[in-house]
Symmetry: C2
Subunit: 199 residues, 2 copies
């Protein structure tokens, strides 16, 4: 998902392996994301993947870093004067990201990943990128408080409430068990209710 | 989870098999809920389980019916005069049910169950019980509209917005990836924001 930047040959190989891992994730889901499958996809020996990522967990972490970076880039709101609209727009982008990258989203936040597997794939680097993605929302919430459209409060706590709610709508939609007749309208109602209710 | 009612011997066996299935689900998760495991747990031959439930999917459906009945019973608000408080109380009970029955909750709504597996386990009976559980919330939302504490609107649509939001908070908490320092307080903030924002 990331845009290529200037890379050393070693970085190029690492990037190519993560590209291959993302294709495997999209095609086969998180359970299919094995060192062997990624090596085959990338046309290298499994040892080449182990050398770079240590294990399947290291590979998953590298893919998740891409996911969190993509989410962060998506949800950073466009500049605009209306703080309420910025926050809602960030919420809309969050859903668009999830619907466009359902396998990444499930791997990042889904309940199909056990806490043990989540802990095993966790690295300092991954934690930093995940925090940075959440911080995009915290920043939007802070701006909305500064603009007086959300009540003054701890921005991280209010961002966590906002996130929980949008995650729920997105998760039910991805699982195909939403109860609404029209997910677009329903999601918009949720964003309006949240910004109003936290305002 | 269901309270025993007067049963014929045949009903007794069915109930005992579902009891066994619930114990297997709690101990081993949905993936461990197989005909063989339930037969062993109940001390019967696998054929006894097949005769009663047809397949693993029939067994899962029977357990999910128990889950939805338990959720419906939990979230039916106590009688009270304050409609806002009734709705929030129903939301609190929803979370308590999920935290007390995480394996049931995951099987009912989790993203770890593929849409194909969900469809395979679906029966008319299960759909009816799942709808009845959602209708408890729809009824609470209708009452809140009648009392003038929620804006007049389609109660099913507003209930679906409310459900999505509380599901999100509960799902992140169960997955151990909530961003709040205090899930109790955060959930209460969400309920207050929703009832205010939809009011």
């Amino acid at each position: 998902m990331a845009e290529p930047t200037q890379r050393t040959p070693s970085r190029d190989l690492e990037g190519a392996l993560i590209d291959a891992a993302e294709r495997v994730l999209v095609r086969e889901g998180l359970r299919g994301l094995t060192v062997r499958a990624v090596a085959t996809e990338a046309g290298v020996a499994p040892q080449g993947v182990y050398n770079r990522f240590g294990s399947k967990h290291g590979l998953v972490a590298a893919v998740l870093v891409r996911g969190f970076d993509g989410l962060a880039a998506s949800t950073r709101a466009d500049d605009g004067t209306d703080a309420t609209e910025r926050l809602r727009s960030s919420g809309r982008s969050y859903r668009r990201f999830a619907l466009a990258h359902p396998q990444h989203y499930e791997a990042m936040f889904g309940s199909g990943v056990s806490p043990a597997d989540r802990a095993a794939a966790s690295t300092d680097d991954l934690t930093a990128h995940a925090s940075a993605a959440f911080d995009v929302l915290v920043t939007e919430v802070s701006r909305a408080m500064d603009a007086g459209v959300l009540r003054r409060d701890d921005p991280r706590e209010i961002a966590s409430v906002f996130w929980a709610a949008v995650h729920g709508a997105v998760a039910l939609e991805l699982a195909g068990i939403t109860k609404t007749a029209d997910p677009d309208t329903s999601y918009e109602r949720l964003l309006v209710a949240l910004t109003a209710g936290l305002g």
